[in-house]
Symmetry: C2
Subunit: 655 residues, 2 copies
């Protein structure tokens, strides 16, 4: 049964258990399902046969017994195969010829695929045999439809980490195999947790990797005062992190804790508290009052269930965004296209954003109009890109609170939004204060000049929806000394590892998608260095012919960080609306609960291996031509990529 009902952890709710080879796998499976687990991982072949090695003319390995075929649909969902650690036959195996390790492995993987198992676990090869395993694996993977391959990788404990011992870094072996297999989406990692807990940095580097499951040995468990299994705080945190990445747990090893009573204790009795509203999920299978025999691994399942259910459920905005995790969207082009109703609705619900705008306008009104002139002096405020009116509302609310006189022009080019805007003004009886101007701001001739120009034209990367060009154009409406809200914004960028995001791009299988930036709620990724500022813009500008082309080179230090594969750059922005009122989607300064913007992701055509400690040098250009603006980007350290998107050939924003 699932570990809990939460929806924010994907398939992590299904837990597995590693079982020994059994000739009657159906019985073994049922026994473990009864103990609460959802699937088992089981050797496909009798290990004794592996030791003896197989005659070369064998075309059929000694698989677990045949009647598994009778329950194939169930088997495929509930059994993950474990491939044997084939070794090459000894040279001393004279006489009868033996099947080579590669041949045997291929037969075994093809069997797993034939059975439509959800996955098959492979042992991590040592040293040079990496390439040979990868060759077999890559050939098989190219023909897979349902089955995934999970490569078993030990999670390196603290003692062996550090930047100097990269030769012993299991991530490197993993990276070799998946690179040799051309980053196939069919290949994932099964992380082997050790009794010793790895340092946080070692855990974080796997967030960007396709980890499919954790293998958790029973000897990693401690015993609580009531004799039940429990985990150290560090192991708890480890599991919680991976649960949140949607990573399943597979328990391995013998039970080391006897279940004290036949009628088992509830979790609270076990010594760990029951999270509110989730007690029933941990009730054991044999809860019918009959004194059933408890499976020795059942207390472990109960503990995992407790851990799984413990973190608070996501609420509000966070809950809404679950469905958007790692989902790539091409950025909006509001200047070129008209937004849809639903888009307006989503954005208008972003209360923190409009509260900040109201504060900015509030402060600007107080600064501009002293109390003595409050009743006599009218401030002219223009909203460029008024949409369905949220900034008009914010402005009028600020005026009310400050008791300043305000005249508002609401300029909006989308005729559909203007319909709603008219209704809002009529319903609120704001006709005296608000003038709706249903034109493209670029062609409007204003009847008077504005004291304050308010806009919300920023994209995930700040300038990427052409705010600089629009506001430079709209500046002609602004009186000398007038205020632009926002008055400045800056983009930020850093390199990331994210097999997930890159894999989505690879799936399109064309150049264009590698040369397009995406708006995406990044979830399974690892930052490779903190973000750095990229391009800044200020409004109003004093330059009569402002040049909004930009270019910059950024060096991202990675001292003390382990080797990683860079899959691209992640971008953010922050903006100063007015005075000390700012909005930010920069991870370190993110405006609380604001949801209008996800980060932006610039992919690389080829992921780039970054050795331990090696800095990354990135370059980005904001280019413009007559009717378009676009970005180009490249890496030059630790090695050199091609420049992506020359001349905006794959992606540009139309002016």
């Amino acid at each position: 049964m699932p570990l809990g009902k939460r929806t924010d952890c994907g398939d992590a709710k299904y837990s597995g258990v590693q079982v020994a080879f059994a000739s009657d796998i159906t019985a073994s499976l049922q026994e473990h399902l009864d103990a609460g687990f959802d699937f088992v991982t089981a050797p496909l072949i009798n290990p004794e046969a592996v030791c003896k090695s197989i005659p070369a003319d064998s075309i059929q390995l000694p698989y677990a017994h045949d009647d598994i075929l009778l329950v194939a649909p169930r088997y495929s969902n509930q059994v993950v195969g474990i491939a044997s650690a084939w070794r090459e036959p000894d040279a001393s195996d004279a006489g009868e010829k033996r099947l080579s390790g590669a041949q045997a492995l291929r037969l075994e993987l093809e069997w797993a695929s034939h059975m439509s198992l959800q996955a098959c676990i492979l042992p991590m090869p040592q040293g040079r045999s990496c390439a040979h395993l990868a060759c077999v694996l890559n050939q098989v993977i190219n023909g897979l439809s349902n089955t995934s391959m999970w490569l078993k990788v030990p999670l390196r404990p603290a003692a062996s980490t550090g930047t100097t011992v990269s030769a012993g870094d299991p991530w490197r072996a993993w990276n070799s195999v998946r690179s040799l297999c051309n980053h196939s989406s069919k290949l994932g990692a099964l992380l082997e947790v050790q009794a010793e807990v790895p340092p946080l940095q070692e855990v974080l580097r796997w967030h960007g990797e396709p980890v499919k499951a954790l293998l958790l040995p029973t000897n990693a468990f401690l015993t609580n005062k009531r004799g039940y299994p429990t985990l150290s705080r560090a192991h708890q945190e480890l599991l919680t992190r991976f649960f949140q990445m949607g990573v399943q747990v597979v328990l391995s090893g013998e039970s080391r804790h006897s279940a004290p009573s036949a009628a088992p204790a509830t979790p609270a009795e076990n010594g760990f508290p029951t999270p509110s509203g989730s007690g029933s999920a941990s009730t054991v299978a044999a809860g019918n009052g009959v004194a059933a025999e408890v499976h020795p691994l059942q207390p472990y399942h109960e503990y995992l269930s407790y851990l799984f259910r413990r973190p608070p459920l996501p609420a509000g905005q966070e809950e809404m965004e679950i469905g958007y995790r790692d989902y790539l969207q091409v950025p909006l082009q509001p200047l070129q296209d008209n937004l849809e109703l639903q888009t307006y609705e989503t954005f208008e619900r972003d209360t923190p954003k409009y509260t900040a705008y109201e504060e900015a306008i509030h402060d600007a009104l107080l600064d501009r109009v002293p109390q003595s002139e409050a009743a006599t002096r009218t401030t002219v405020l223009m909203v460029v890109g008024a949409g369905r009116g949220p900034l008009v509302k914010a402005a009028l609310s600020a005026a009310r609170r400050t008791e300043r006189r305000l005249k508002v022009y609401a300029i909006e080019k989308n005729p559909n939004a203007v319909v709603t805007l008219h209704r809002l003004i009529a319903a609120e009886r704001w006709e005296d204060q608000v003038t709706i101007v249903a034109v493209d701001m670029r062609s409007w001739r204003a009847p008077e000049q504005a004291d304050i120009l308010v806009s919300e034209l920023l994209g995930s990367f700040g300038d990427n929806e052409l705010s600089p060009e629009c506001l430079d154009g709209a500046q002609r409406f602004l009186a000398p000394g007038g205020i632009s809200i926002p008055c400045a914004y800056t983009s930020h960028l850093h390199p990331i590892a994210s097999a997930k995001l890159w894999g989505e791009v690879q799936g399109y299988n064309d150049l264009e998608h590698y040369e397009t930036p995406y708006v995406v709620k990044m979830h399974r990724f690892t930052p490779l260095s903190p973000p750095q500022p990229v391009f800044s813009f200020h409004h109003p500008t004093k330059d009569p012919h402002p040049d909004n082309a930009r270019s910059t080179s950024l060096t991202f230090p990675r001292d003390g960080l382990p080797a990683a594969l860079c899959h691209g750059l992640a971008g953010y922005f922050d903006t100063q609306l007015y005075g000390n009122v700012i909005l930010s989607i920069h991870p370190q300064t993110h405006t609380e609960d604001m949801h209008s913007w996800f980060p932006i992701y610039f992919p690389l055509k080829e992921p780039l291996l970054c050795p331990a400690g090696a800095a990354i040098e990135a370059h980005i250009w904001r280019c413009s031509a007559n009717h378009k603006v676009w970005y180009e980007w490249a890496l030059t350290e630790p090695s050199v990529s091609a420049i992506h998107n020359p001349n905006g050939r794959s992606y540009f924003v139309g002016l």
Copy 2:
């Protein structure tokens, strides 16, 4: 006028000279053409204007005067532009806004393209500005049709070489720019020779690069005892090497040697000997008896002409192969396809090969049949894949020489070749000795067993035309203790740099071509480490079920070697025919004058940067399935490539 008439050096026969900015470029050009040069390299812009920098609203730079347009066709062939070394305007250039270096460079490069100049020379950027120059260059390159871009790169002299100072390695900067420009075929290097000669290793690394021209300063010249310019032996070797790679020379700098007489000396009088049969080409322009004024650079041109003409002209096979240099061919599949007449003719002309076969058969006959049995014992020899009969001829010739009795079966599946074979036998009256068997050897049932099995089924990589499979099959014709000629063969492989070969593959713009090995007369390439043995096969085999699948991992040490870009692997083979009779296309043991096989080239999808001294680890697999054999290959050091050609998806040899 061209430096000489030789055909083996491509466009190297055209030499250029670097001239200063001239408002009347037509006159300047004519003056230098009269001195013997074929083209000039000239600044496109008055350097004084560059120093002052250009106002930002300029859309036209101060180009060399306008009437060059009147002679555009001539201009485009005979002038290579030199772009200015634009610097960014100083921040202190207050007041009027200045064109940025990038903007000015773009205008200049686009002007060169507009003029259809054959090329435009760019200065090598320093440090980080590499990426910014590359961005402009890459954008312009994507729109080029006729014009090439030559990046000026200093040829590093001995003092600054070594593996430790890669930061100061100009090749690294070159490599960054061309990688950022995605290895465009429009981008080449102009190598700046210094007065100090570089070490050989530094010269060799440029063989694999798209070097378009050498820039040779007059101050690199010495003075001979008659007062004429001459070069040191090291500089001579440098030029000769690059001439043979088709690289042009551009002379730069003032004349440092006065031409002693108005009626100039012939080269012999200048103190350097005239190569036989090429004296006329160096006769000066004003050779009409009139005392014309000699251009001060003319003696340099004469010396270059002498150097160009000095090496012996290629003859025979070497001359024939000129047209095949760096020309990619997909390997033959003689088992699947029937060879054409012309292919047979080409191969049959390979005297060294058939001489070796005759020697091998000769030795085998003597070993098998003692003199005492010479008249009584008949040796049965089968030629499997007899083609039009060259091995039949060689066998009969060996029999004659050894005075041994021989019975020959000539097995050939190509009905077209059999026609010629019948005519040969009839013409030579060999009907009693030779039986023609016009079948596929795989389906033949032999009437008796052979003592010797002779075949020529090897490809450029030894086993790549399925010799192992064919000979294993034909082994059933062979009597116990019988001999196979060849009795063994081994393939060899090493990593190479070759922008030329890789560029040819890139031109196809699809995955398949990156996953195909090519037979090619490699010319513009640099070996990155000596070849190492790969796969060996022996015949006859004792194994009743021989497994011809193979895999191997090779580590290529590069201690002391500079950084390089690996474009793929080059393959060769050698074979033991019998005893000590071998054939080889391995560069270090190549059979003299044998021309039947060019090397084989395995490309990489992405060229791989190898730091100075870093070893390269490569893997190759020979795989087989029911009806096909194919190779897969990958690199894992210094970084990891994907495995190429999984399951033979792009290339295989049909069984």
